[in-house]
């Protein structure tokens, strides 16, 4: 199956700092999502981005499908950005799609 590697595994920032999270995957995919899991366990959709670049407020993401990686940028980080960020990738076929998750990047933002 597809292997998904996320880096760094852990990140500690001061409020206001910027950061880049990386997701590498081992095979061609046509689906890629970034999620934020808050401290209570809720997975929140950030981006559906199988290719190209998207921005949503202080967050943006870029996927270079041909080189099998995606980047999530967090600018001017806030304490509420703390949590675990997951990349999930896969191939949809016949209407069915089963994402494979990485192990996540754990982010702590200090005030």
């Amino acid at each position: 199956g597809i292997q998904v590697e996320q880096s760094p595994p852990d990140l500690i920032l001061q409020e206001g700092a910027n950061s880049t999270l990386r997701c590498n995957f081992s095979d061609s995919v046509n689906n890629l999502q970034w999620f934020h899991q808050n401290p209570w366990g809720q997975l929140i959709n950030l981006f559906y981005i199988p290719s190209g670049t998207k921005q949503n407020g202080r967050l943006s993401a870029t996927t270079v499908a041909t080189e099998r990686y995606s980047l999530l940028y967090i600018s001017s980080s806030q304490t509420t950005d703390s949590g675990v960020y997951f990349c999930a990738v896969g191939v949809s076929s016949g209407g069915s799609y089963i994402p494979t998750f990485g192990r996540g990047t754990s982010l702590i933002v200090h005030p």
């Binding site: 998904v4 209570w40 366990g41 809720q42 997951f86 949809s92 209407g95 994402p99 192990r103």
Partner: protein, 110 residues
């Protein structure tokens, strides 16, 4: 518009018991997937239901079974619980490829 809901939020069971977890999908979604998330890991796919049939299954034993009802809600059943079944169980619903997750059920097996 209600998102994905799951019940119960927390559950404590003992080894050998059976458990049923419930999920109501986001309005308009017809596909429900279940995931197990162990501490410090990413979610692992258990199975997916579409039109009341199991469409795909991950690498989980037959102790894990499920059901989807005509209103698209779903249940996950786990028999003969093991200590290693302790985890966060997540339900996700979708209409196309984008999956939306519920808040999860935390299961502790003692």
């Amino acid at each position: 518009d209600a998102g994905v809901t799951q019940s119960p939020t927390h559950l404590i069971k003992t080894r050998g018991q059976q458990v049923t977890l419930r999920c109501s999908p986001k309005s308009g979604h017809d596909t429900v997937s279940w995931y197990q998330q162990a501490l410090g890991q990413g979610p692992q796919f258990i199975f997916q239901y579409y039109e009341e049939e199991e469409r795909q299954r991950g690498n989980f034993p037959d102790r894990f079974s499920g059901h989807q009802f005509p209103n698209y809600s779903s249940e996950l059943n786990v028999n003969a619980l093991l200590l290693g079944d302790s985890a966060l169980y997540l339900c996700a619903s979708s209409l196309s490829v984008t999956q939306y997750f519920g808040p999860g059920t935390r299961l502790l097996v003692l």
